[in-house]
């Protein structure tokens, strides 16, 4: 049971990260390949504040997330107005810098020896892991709700316009650089929150956790589920992490010698799925979703019209 709670908690973190990536890439068109870097700033930032400075968990998470947001804002100023490939490469490089610094600055971070132990809040209670899972659930549901609101809002529409044709949006008066910067900084800060909340989950932090595999797992999940759909993250994570890491690894009857190869088989399948999706269904399993907006009725002379929800089909 404990293992299931742990797995579900991990899965919730992945869903949250994928949802934030949906906002960054699916809505705003920013290809962030440094997800593990911002999550890692939250993770290790929280760890260092909690372990070395004995700060309580919540303020540690808040401060670590602010650090992630600030770093994101600086990076945004540097590279967000360059090409998609440049942003991809720069964010990838940033994540590598962060993981390298965590190893090299071992006086602060514990280096390869690791950093610990970070406990759940209410750790004296028996069910503290379950309580924490529910806290994660609340956070992730809030993220999903905010993401939906964003899609339906004027800001969301501006982001989609920027993604489709940034120059045109700017020529109509939209400060595209500022919008992208703020959205990027805030969503990366939220990735930091998820990182901070992952600290008590892992309990003991090691630099290996900052490897790019987390970034790729999140990307694969999002692309699979549908980068442009508000629920793409959930579906994608269910189909990858949920299916493989939870269902198959935990419950499938596989003999011991082959069980070691299972993670490699999983990653092989991810590769195959990713190739299939990009080639044959680039919008992912769920495709695109449209903003849900209350339509203003066209004035009909002498008649009454009720406002209806307009969901525009192509």
């Amino acid at each position: 049971m404990d293992y299931l709670i742990f797995s579900i908690s991990l899965m919730l973190v992945y869903i949250g990260l994928a949802q934030l990536l949906h906002i960054q890439f699916g809505l705003a068109g920013i290809p962030n390949f440094g997800v593990v870097g911002f999550w890692g700033l939250g993770l290790y930032g929280t760890g260092v504040l909690y372990v070395k400075l004995a700060l309580p968990l919540l303020p540690s998470i808040v401060m670590a997330s602010l650090l992630a947001a600030v770093v994101a804002y600086v990076v945004a100023h540097l590279v967000l107005q360059r090409s998609g490939q440049a942003i991809l490469a720069a964010t990838l490089a940033l994540a590598a810098i962060i993981s390298t610094l965590v190893v090299s600055e071992k006086d602060i971070t514990g280096g390869v020896q690791g950093l610990g132990t970070i406990r759940f809040p209410f750790s004296d209670l028996d069910q503290s892991n379950l309580i924490f899972m529910i806290m994660l659930l609340v956070v992730v549901c809030t993220l999903l709700w905010i993401s939906g609101k964003l899609r339906d809002s004027r800001l969301g529409r501006q982001l989609v316009a920027i993604r489709d044709n940034e120059e045109l949006a700017a020529s109509l008066g939209k400060d595209t650089a500022a919008s992208k910067r703020w959205v990027f900084a805030i969503t990366c800060g939220l990735m930091g929150v998820l990182g901070g909340m992952s600290a008590p989950l892992h309990q003991f932090l090691v630099p290996y956790q900052l490897a790019p595999s987390l970034t790729f797992a999140v990307w694969i999940a999002l692309v699979l589920g549908g980068k442009g759909h508000n629920l793409g993250a959930i579906v994608g994570v269910f189909v990858t992490f949920g299916l493989f890491d939870i269902l198959i690894e935990t419950y499938a009857p596989v003999p011991a010698e082959q069980a070691i190869l299972l993670p490699n088989f999983k990653l092989f399948c991810y590769g195959v799925l990713l190739v299939m999706i990009i080639m044959f269904r680039p919008l992912g399993i769920l495709g695109v979703d449209k903003p849900r907006v209350r339509a203003v009725p066209k004035p009909v002379p002498g008649g009454h019209s009720k406002p209806s929800v307009e969901e525009v089909e192509p």
């Binding site: 004027r154 020529s171 209350r294």
Partner: protein, 248 residues
């Protein structure tokens, strides 16, 4: 609002493409800019929209007693001051419907911040009305959907510019790609707004009858310089213009 270029030159490898001592756009209501092929119209448009950097000279925007040098400004700043240009090549937002595209252009950037997530209604009645008026006035195939053909996309581009209520609108060859009746409807709408004092317009065009019909003032560009400017009748009657342009 006026757009003024002084001593503006652009040269590519010592070959001068544009050399204008002084030209002012926006002083005379609905203006036209004409010239034969190769006169430098596209280059001039590029200079006026900062797509191309000048070799020398200055371009200034005069608005509300304030003067802004054009080149250091960024695209969105230029638009916010009130200068907007239609696109010669088809440009659009593929994911947005016709109405959404217009709503986007009509919405001021200051109401597109984070607080917009918590508005009860995405677009106000006022904006919906403006959008509807424009959309209903033109024969789009699917008014509640997307712009279908190249012509519809071109028209939508022009309407986007109109709905953002510019102070000075540059129209870059608006007839290209549009059927004549649509162009007339657009130009009628444009003339209405100019007469009501809401904006000034400069139309760059090859279609001379359109220019003679709608413009109050015409600039004639040839070989990179403004050779003549004046009221349509004057320009039509001018011998230099006739020689260079109409091959008389």
């Amino acid at each position: 609002m006026k757009l003024e270029a002084t001593n503006l030159t652009k040269a590519y490898h010592a070959h001068e493409v544009v050399n204008i001592e002084k030209v002012t756009f926006g002083a005379g209501g609905l203006e036209g800019l004409i010239g034969p092929n190769g006169a430098g119209k596209s280059t001039l448009m590029g200079l006026l929209t900062r797509r191309i950097a000048p070799t020398s000279g200055t371009i200034n925007l005069h608005s509300d007693d304030k003067t802004h040098a054009l080149n250091p400004l960024r695209s969105h700043q230029v638009a916010r001051i009130g200068l907007i240009k239609t696109n010669q090549r088809i440009q659009g937002f593929d994911s947005l419907t016709i109405r959404d595209s217009l709503r986007l252009a009509a919405t001021p950037p200051r109401s597109e911040g984070f607080t917009s997530l918590f508005s009860r209604q995405r677009d106000s009645e006022e904006i919906e009305e403006k959008v509807s008026r424009l959309v209903e006035a033109f024969p789009f195939t699917d008014r509640n959907g997307y712009a279908m053909s190249g012509g519809e996309k071109k028209l939508l581009d022009i309407l986007r510019c109109l709905i953002s209520e510019p102070k000075l609108l540059l129209m870059d060859e608006p007839t290209a790609g549009l059927p004549e009746d649509i162009t007339r409807s657009v130009m009628d709408m444009v003339r209405e707004r100019v007469l009501a004092g809401h904006m000034r317009v400069v139309v760059v065009e090859h279609d001379l009858p359109l220019i003679w019909e709608y413009c109050d003032y015409v600039h004639f560009l040839s070989e990179g310089a403004i050779l003549f400017e004046g009221a349509p009748e004057e320009v039509k009657a001018n011998r230099v213009v006739a020689e260079k342009y109409m091959g008389v």
